[in-house]
Amino acid sequence: MHTINKPTKYRISLKEPGIPGVLRMAEERFIFTPHDPRSLLKLDVPFRSIKVHKFSKDGSKQALLNLLHEGGGYIFEFDSFSDRNICRDFVGKILGKLQATCPSKDDKTVPDKTTPAPGEQLSPMEMEHRIKLLRDDSELQRLHKQFVMTAILTESEFWATRKNLLDDTTIKVTKQRTGFKSTMLADIRPSTDGRTNKVTFSLTPEIIHQIFAEKPAVHRAFLDLVPKKMSEKDFWTKYCRAEYLHRTNNSVAAAAEAAEDEELAVFLKHDDILADEIRHKIRRVDPTLDMEADQADDYIHLQDHGLLRDGGKETVDAESELSRRTLSQDLNRHAAVVLEGRAFDVELGDTRTVAEALARSKKGPSLETFDKNESQERLEKACRMTEIEDLRGPHQLPYAPLFIKDPREYFDSQQANALRALGDSNAGFKNTDYNFNLEESYAYLMKQISEAKVTGLNDIVQSDVALKVLNGLNQHLSSTKQHIGKGPFESVLDQLPSRTKDELMIHWSSIQELLRHFWSSYPITTGYLYNKVLRLKEAMTQIYNKLQEIKESVQSDYRHLVSLLVHPMLQALDAAFAHYDSEQQKRTAKGGAMPNGFFK
């Protein structure tokens, strides 16, 4: 491809005047050389770093080309649009080509720290997740370092047990939905240009959506009228007109207009859907709330109190239906809508689809359906709140009733299983422990009871035995008090030197990690698993030895404590080793050679 040279001005920002120079574009990079050789603003940028290019419209004030890179852009002003267009097309071609040849330049962002296992393809996104998780959680990082870096576990094995962590973060990435703006519609004021009587309202899809949500009557009218009876534009003109009339408090004019035009009247009338909704809500108000008692608490009835709207004081005009739309009502309605939030996700473009989607979302929980439950609940609540305690029986504590789906199956299957199991397990038990059969046992027991009858009660406890018991109990108490700590929340760990404590904690988490992998590898079906178990066993043996060392190395004061703590760890490891050995024996018993040639 050829190169092009064009005179241009480089502008650091749109506000500053440009620096004249020459822009030279080649296949790989573009170079800007200012005319003033002393200027330091010389550019040499590879196209790889450019993401998008933007440009001003043909015929606009300036012929601009903006090459955006991460974190900014290079703006060039050309003398003519034709020059600019040549450069623009050139850049477009190169960028298109670059994107086609290297689809993701993120390959190099995979750090050397985490090397994916062969055959495992990780998207850079996942990789970043993992790195972030490791960075945030030092414990995790330590385990990762300890096991993955030493090749005891592979990367994928390590993360396989932590899928939930990975999932969580992907959920968090989803975009937060924006709700309605909390500013009120009243803020969209009509703009007048002082010369004519023209009044301009400007409506955006966002505002329309908000109008629909806040004024169900308008919403309904829109669904009914548009586009059957009138065009969308006419509809909104009417709406704005009604709004204007209402705003100017011109009730006479409004009434006149409403009489002439029934569609316009819809907007001026009191919103009946809203009224219905409010009536429902009032019925659901806590029955113990006494609103009448609060009536005089707001000072509204006093002189010089009240709310100002649109410059004038809201006058209570009992004759006019319009005046009932008071500011506080509007405020309340707006607050309710904002709190409700957006129930659906629709591109705010086409008004019609927005209106329909809103209608659909409203249909879902209709008010009537849960009204019945509500009234029942209300009644119960009223009873509860107003009850006089000593006239009532005790409350029933809430409990979940026992629910057995099929009692016959439940009990029968258990019984059958239990008998079978008992038959197996007790045969040996009985022979060793119990020399008597049932009859003899009963006879012996009876003999004992009659013996007790005859001998009567004497010399229950020998004094030396009593002393032994007392000493034993006291020792037990003082030792548990010392070892388990005074309060139940006081940890034994806190008494240990911090170094030993840390060491123990580290080993404990390592053991857990290893054991989790160990047990999940059984049953061993492949040579891979066999190797994995072998690796894990090696690692566990090392930790086992380390634990023993810790036990020996601590000071004598803490030795007992530490051995108590280490004991369950060793037990867990012992169980794993025992399992390993028994599996191993089974394998050799089966005939030595394993399917994959592994045998021991």
């Binding site: 055959g119 495992e120 994928s156 094995e157 396989a160 005790p394 029933q396 504590l397 629910f403 057995i404 789906k405 199956e409 439940y410 299957s413 258990q414 299983n417 239990a418 008998l419 199991a421 008992l422 038959g423 007790n426 038990f429 009985k430 020399n435 008597f436 049932l438 009859e439 003899e440 046992s441 009963y442 012996y444 027991l445 009876m446 004992q448 009871i449 009659s450 007790a452 009858k453 001998t455 009567g456 009660l457 229950i460 406890v461 020998q462 035995v465 032994k468 018991v469 007392l470 034993g472 109990l473 037990h476 108490l477 548990t480 388990i484 999940s520 059984y522 049953p523 079906t525 698993l529």
Partner: protein
């Protein structure tokens, strides 16, 4: 079931329900001598320790009440209730003792008679019906709760000898939870060979004391020093704490005590094998049990 309407206890009066293990197999095992606990402490001696303990409980407070329940292998039954005694009879220690022994004899006869008809005992079941006697005790406690606003503070003491019967797991756990709900502590004194996982859990959950006395011939002393204290005094005393609790559960299907198992995601029933359907709540588990290694397997092959 409604729980007790009010909990106005008089705080130093106790109702102690003692569960006595009268398992013939266990006690007869001591006849041959040897290391068995029943050899060091035969049933006659055991009673020698327990009956004076019951008497001393009654001595501690005039209003104290003691109930003795025997646990057999076929049945359970009330043996003695200090509240039932006539105004003149209950004072005499030897009378109480002979009453207990007489009723115990009757109980053992009854237990034997019931066992004859069924194959259960011969089938080899050697564990006592702990669940049954716990239920009897709880019923008694509930009756006391309903007797009036002021009643003694109840607690249950299990004198357990025979090993746990895993087949009773669900029943025992239910009894434990109902004791917890009605705030009745279950104390346990194990004189058998092994620790009892059931009673460890019972005492842990209900806030009672669990003790397995190492010195069996001093049983009375353990009973008097540890288990005689009423609930109010326990707040001020340092009583033995168990070093650990065996929390293992029995599976619902085969009644085996298990370390690892399957849990129904709906009702938390426990199974030792994978089930296609939960036998308790009927939920169906569609997915076949995932072999523990299958997930990692597929990842590796991919």
């Amino acid at each position: 079931m409604a729980s007790a309407p009010s909990k106005l206890y008089s705080d130093d009066v106790s109702l102690v329900v003692v569960l006595l293990d009268a398992n013939p197999f266990f006690w007869a095992a001591g006849a041959g001598g040897g290391n068995h606990p029943a050899a060091t402490l035969p049933f006659a001696k055991f009673l020698d320790h327990v009956i004076p303990f019951l008497n001393s409980l009654l001595l501690m407070n005039q209003l104290n009440q003691v109930v003795l329940i025997a646990t057999g292998i076929n049945t359970c039954g009330y043996i003695y209730d200090s509240g039932n005694g006539g105004p003149e009879g209950s004072d005499n220690v030897s009378e109480i003792s002979s009453e207990i022994l007489l009723r115990l004899e009757e109980f053992v006869c009854k237990d034997r008679k019931i066992g004859k008809g069924t194959e259960r005992a011969m089938g080899g079941s050697v564990s006592s019906l702990l669940s049954g006697s716990l239920s009897l005790a709880l019923c008694y406690v509930q009756k006391v709760f309903r007797s009036g606003a002021i009643h003694p503070q109840p607690r249950i003491l299990c004198l357990q000898a025979s090993p746990d019967g895993p087949e009773q797991y669900v029943a025992v756990m239910n009894a434990i939870f109902s004791a917890q709900r009605s705030m009745v502590p279950i104390d346990s004194c194990v004189v058998g060979v092994q620790h009892s996982a059931f009673l460890q859990q019972a005492s842990y959950i209900t806030g009672g004391i669990y003790l397995k006395p190492p010195q069996l011939d001093g049983l009375f002393q353990y009973l008097a020093a540890v288990f005689a204290t009423d609930l109010q005094s326990r707040n001020f005393l340092q009583l033995p704490k168990p070093a650990g609790v065996d929390f293992r559960a029995s599976c619902f299907c085969h009644k085996k005590t298990i370390d690892m198992g399957y849990v129904c995601s709906v009702c938390l029933s426990i199974f030792c094998q994978h089930q296609r359907k939960c036998s308790t709540c009927g939920s169906e588990f569609n997915q076949a049990p995932r072999e523990p290694n299958s997930a990692s397997d597929t990842i590796r092959k991919a």
